[in-house]
Symmetry: C5
Subunit: 245 residues, 5 copies
């Protein structure tokens, strides 16, 4: 019996792949399957996730009622991208998967900090480390894909560092109630970054995103969201499937 994947390592190390995939239920799931068949579909998804949980970390989010383009979101972390692909292909062949439609799949890689490092921006680097999330456990996750324009990438490293410093400062007050994680996607998907947030305070989150909109770095975006995915954090993918079944 294989051991579980090391979740902490996958969630904190650089060089890890993150796959963000949203799905919409086809009406056939409700119209053509009986309640019993849908119940067995939940069990089938449980078995598939168990089969892969020694290689990939699988998280599920309920987006139905909060987003129009999807009913649920899966976030997969893996060291080898083919493991994540294999899992999603196995899921796709389940009864639940066949009645789901993939809406968007974005792939990113985690990296060490680029700009707010000890050497480039010491005080901000320390400020980022000085506060930890310490309010109620987050119930919501938000995914905002971002693409920057050619002008951004043609700035010098120093210019970009200055911009990111201006972007980082207004986020400090929100470290206490909004968690953030960044994935680099250039060339892997049609975005440059996948930004992932968790919070229990959506008003604070709204104010944070307004603060991030109000700095010069924001003038270099050609895509910001589209879609913004807001989902309820679930205990497991199987639980997401149960809620939708």
């Amino acid at each position: 019996m294989s051991s579980l994947v090391d979740a902490t390592k996958l969630l904190t190390s650089p060089g890890i792949f993150g796959i963000f995939s949203t799905y919409r239920m086809r009406p056939s799931y409700y119209l053509d399957l009986s309640k019993e068949e849908r119940a067995s579909a939940v069990d089938e998804v449980s078995r598939v996730t168990e089969e892969f949980n020694d290689k990939v970390l699988i998280q599920g989010y309920l987006t139905a009622g909060l987003c129009h383009s999807s009913d649920f979101l899966i976030r997969v972390h893996c060291e080898d991208l083919t493991d994540g692909q294999s899992f999603l292909m196995s899921l796709k062949k389940t009864k639940f998967g066949v009645h789901s439609e993939v809406i968007e799949t974005l792939i990113g890689i985690t990296k060490s900090l680029n700009y707010i490092t000890k050497s480039k921006s010491q005080s901000l680097n320390e400020a980022l480390g000085a506060t930890v999330y310490s309010t109620e456990a987050p119930r919501y996750a938000i995914v905002i894909p971002i693409k920057k324009n050619a002008q951004w990438w043609n700035l010098s490293d120093l210019e970009r560092t200055n911009m990111i410093e201006g972007h980082t400062r207004p986020t400090l007050p929100y470290l206490v109630n909004v968690k953030r994680k960044l994935y680099h996607a250039t060339g892997l998907s049609d975005v440059d970054f996948i930004t992932y947030f968790e919070t229990n305070d959506l008003t604070a989150f709204n104010n944070l995103i307004i603060a991030l909109a109000s700095v010069p770095e924001n003038t270099f975006h050609v895509r910001y969201g589209n879609p913004t995915t807001l989902g309820l954090i679930s205990v497991s993918l199987a639980d997401v499937v149960r809620q939708l079944s």
Copy 2:
């Protein structure tokens, strides 16, 4: 037996979530269900709305014949967003819900006034309070989602206040026959604001929106409408379902 949600509080307090969700009927609703089945679908929706009316305020609007992208609109107000989500997910599992397709879901939060406050803009603040809607009861509601560009958010607060004053002045003559309500959506959906109007005089409303287009603040919009949703205000969601059944 639980008491009804406090509608006045939900419609006037800051910190309340508003969910705006539009739907289109699938042809299967008419082709695969009998008249009797559609009649029972209405009753099922009534039961679901009753089940939730101690936690969420539910309003329905008929958009069929007035909009191409939807047949009806639901507006939900709630203090806890998960209550609104639970209601919409329960609705989705009804016979009526299964034969409906979600077209757009936008989520906003109510806030106190940002710019036209007593301290920043006293005379306009008083003018806004001096006139109340006093013409025939509104039959129509209009929802216009708005997204502003990075330049807007990079203006100073004073510059934005000046712009919003210029935006507010031409609206004063319409306070008598057009009601307005604003929701803040940055980071929750792919828009910054959801503007909601009620009126019985669509010519006056057309003139109001032209007046709002004719001020400098309008030059900062990257999305205005798209879609604009025009709907007939219904006495209840169940009544909307009845009209479509």
Copy 3:
């Protein structure tokens, strides 16, 4: 027995609503219904239009073969918008309606002239009245929705009048063979204007639209057409249905 709606009044007065709705036939209409059922669908549409012809003016146009996004267009005029909505909802529930898909619905209001009035632009106002359509009865109608940018609406009234004068002058030679009618849609749909033309001379019409493209006012458009709808004018909506059945 109720009397027919006053067509002349609806087609010439200000303050009248015009609904322009295009539809595409679903393949199920041909695959799942027999010839007899389709014939009865025509009769059903006739009955529905008769039921409403004391309140709304209903006109039909065949766009199949001329446009890809639609097979037919309905133009409805009414004094009270809910009458138009009721008619379109009744149509939607017929056998023909169930097998049709709404593609675009645009709503406008008629108004008196804004710019080329006796007081603002006397000679052009007279020129517009001096020529009437006098060539062969038009067989074709064209609908071009238009949206102007924020810069347009931020011009002064005098600047816009000058622009519209420049727009109007090249149209004078075409008064003899192209009819025009304008609807104001700002805030009601996602366009500012719905322009409606009738002609029997499509080469003249092509030259007219090129002339309208060649003036400064055209530089303020953010939407022009998209879609342009070209249809064959039919004697009735029932006849459109018959042609498609």
Copy 4:
């Protein structure tokens, strides 16, 4: 028995309508019809085209495998647009037509040359006439719809003539292996021009379009292709249907 339409006249005269319509096969054509039914569908299309070949010129192109948005293209020429519309509506009601989906329909009118005329640009006019297509019979046709911006149409006639001269010069070396034909579509469809090419040398064609991209006139385009349609020229529409059946 009626005589065939005069193809040469329709292909060379001004004032002729050209309808370009692309279609995609629905999967139901292959899944729900037997081989025998599909064979009879070919015969039915043959009969419909014969019925109309005294009024319209019908040409077919196979785009499956070369374009994603369509499986075939029909080009129709006619003096009276209603004849073309009648043909396409008759085709739509055949078994083959019911299982096809219209993707794009563009309509243009042929005109005499606007700019490179004897009086405006004599030497180029002569150069255009001096070379004829003289290489292998073309197997491929390409359709590129074009829309120009408001700035183009606001140029003076002389400025536009200069631009078109710059556009025409680099095309002279390709007269020997690429045929061209132009249709004017402003106001009839959402493009200004439909450009139609025939060639047997796709590398030469690629170089020609690069040459056309490399002149100032190209900076005035708001749509160029989208889609570009590349198809195999077929001996008849019935043959296209046979290939797809």
Copy 5:
């Protein structure tokens, strides 16, 4: 028995057509066919690819789980484009093909180098030849379609050469772990270039594409990806079909 096509020649010569076609499985493949029928569908695809492997080179890539818009990618090389078209049309008529939907088809031609030639840019030309791919066999392929704007094509050849030199320099360090191949598509599809990459190191690839984004040449792009297609390189198209069946 015919001999196989010369793969090396097709992959290295100028004047070769490359067809890139992506597909999505319809849910009917899983819902309406039994496991046995899907197994026989694999065999049928094998037979079709064998039938054509004396004329076209066929390669398959699994994109399911990595891209939302497709489940697999086919790359076809051929000297005569009609051979590639015939193959794709034959594939489309198989059981597997009927249950697949074409998502995007792009066609390009291979050419000799335009800018980094011995005569124009000697040292870079030599540098490109000095390093060969020498790390682990690539498991992933990435396809990024590119369209440049009118300003690019209106630059002088020298200006474009300078730009491409700036584009080429940062790619030299990646020759060891990323393979590249270029196809010219102007006029054949709605892009100018199809860029094809193979790698086993997706982090290196991400860094390469960031480097390519950070040069002035990148400011001339109007399309870059959209979609970016990331796929797992398969041993054969039949193997792709087997994985999806």
